[in-house]
Symmetry: D2
Subunit: 169 residues, 4 copies
């Protein structure tokens, strides 16, 4: 992996998209996805976005030199999701400080209707944010965002507009 020259791949402002079918184990006795599992599904999407940027997810999460734990999360739950539903999660990471980034998640349900001509509609079911801080595990202190994570931020990162949206929540 090399540093990508800007003219080859400019920040696309296209978020990473993760598709997932809601499974029976995601649901609770109210018949819908259990609220904390929605954050788990967002984390799955985060993992998939890291892998899609060439990051080895196993090494990233499990006893790395630089650990990047979640220090804060928020979530808004708009619509219930049901077993068998297809959902799409848009993942938009954003650098906040040189040791800190946040990830915005927007989860959409996908509904298909109609006969001969199918009509596909997407509707927002949940929105979440997670904040992540880079920690040097040996020194137990904050450290810079690693180079491969910086590339991931550039690859899937949003513009200021995304951050503004966050502030409106």
């Amino acid at each position: 992996m090399q540093c990508l020259p800007l003219f080859v791949e400019p920040p696309s402002n296209m978020p990473f998209t993760y598709e997932r079918t809601i499974r029976f184990s995601d649901t609770d006795a109210a018949g819908v996805v259990y609220f904390a599992n929605i954050l788990s599904i967002c984390h799955e999407a985060y993992e998939a976005s890291l892998a899609a940027a060439g990051i080895n997810v196993g090494q990233f999460f499990c006893y790395p030199k630089i650990a990047i734990p979640i220090t804060h999360s928020t979530a808004d739950f708009m619509q219930p999701m049901f077993c068998g539903d297809l959902v799409k999660v848009h993942v938009t990471p954003k650098e906040i400080k040189d040791s800190e980034y946040e990830v915005a998640f927007e989860m959409f349900g996908v509904s298909v209707s109609g006969g001969e001509v199918k009509e596909v509609t997407e509707f927002l079911t949940a929105r979440a944010f997670t904040k992540h801080v880079c920690i040097d595990t040996a020194a137990r202190s904050r450290t810079f965002i690693p180079a491969d994570v910086m590339r991931w931020l550039q690859q899937w990162g949003g513009t200021g507009a995304t951050r503004d949206m966050d502030l409106l929540l």
Copy 2:
């Protein structure tokens, strides 16, 4: 259960406390409790506080006339928690509107040290808030907080101070 006259049982300002041992299934490959499971443990504490106020938890959550889904959550993760750790969760509910309440959770780790004379210290590991909206499931519209939930709010409810703390987050 009758409505409690205020002079008999004034709001105690004592939060409900739930004790829980961290289990292996709560943890992830980083060796600590998985972030979304911290919200699950808070929800367990919420369930226990409802049961302690005489509410039938099975009926409360599963296809009731008035559903009270979580519409928003926030969480701050201060300290990692490990398999075998004892944690205490303080649960402080608070009415926001006549159809809406929030619940504040403070999770403490409990550490015991010393020889003959034990020293017990508690330290804040996580803090979370959940917002809940009462929905008439037949009419599919907002409705009033039910009477038994009002009693639970009075029994474990916090003062304005708690809400101020929330605003500072």
Copy 3:
């Protein structure tokens, strides 16, 4: 959906295959997939095989006229699985009685090595069986396997060889 004439689509003896990346939430503090989550992943594969046979998974699991609960499960855990690993699950259902079927699951890890020429090897990580009994939920008694489930059994069902393998466990 109509009953498939045998000459158009004979029993293929090809099991249904489900692909899945191991996620961080699947793991525990020993750094590998938590044992009970392996059964959850098998159930996901079962759900995917049902959906691939045209069955509406949401209706199938949630308060149906005929409930088909799992009454028995066995599992053998051969190899640990790690966050980021790709796994394939082969799903082979088999009718046992007119009210009962079992599903065999074989989970394989996929390992890719080599430079110019990639070498892909698959290795068995776990094997599981689940037994399912059809219950008429109104009458609370055993009932026949429904027609759409019979078609699923025909579509992905194994031969006697699979059952023999089961007996050797």
Copy 4:
């Protein structure tokens, strides 16, 4: 911890008992405890039985010198369990070889009825077995059951009768 002389504490044949309230997160959209979560609850009971024998559960499970993974599990699901239900899990471990043990779990629902005089009835909801093999993590080979685990086996261990029951399954 010293080795307990046999005349002080003979094998009690009393299983360890773990009490647990079924939580909302244990359930699925069929309104009952998700099948794989029943195995998780059994594992919680196993952890509690280890802790009650003086074993540090955190060290036991997380990167120990001797790892004791589960290599096999079976489970029978007799009765559904619902959110809010109280369950008791009896834990009966048994040595099989010098490097191997199994644990039998019996899960009972507890039902309370009646007015002035309460009547408490317990009914079997699930039964499970797990097999565990001791592995020297450095040498990557089978090794003897460690001394503290042998004491746990003696403290909560069953008689041959339990093993016979297993064979009948």
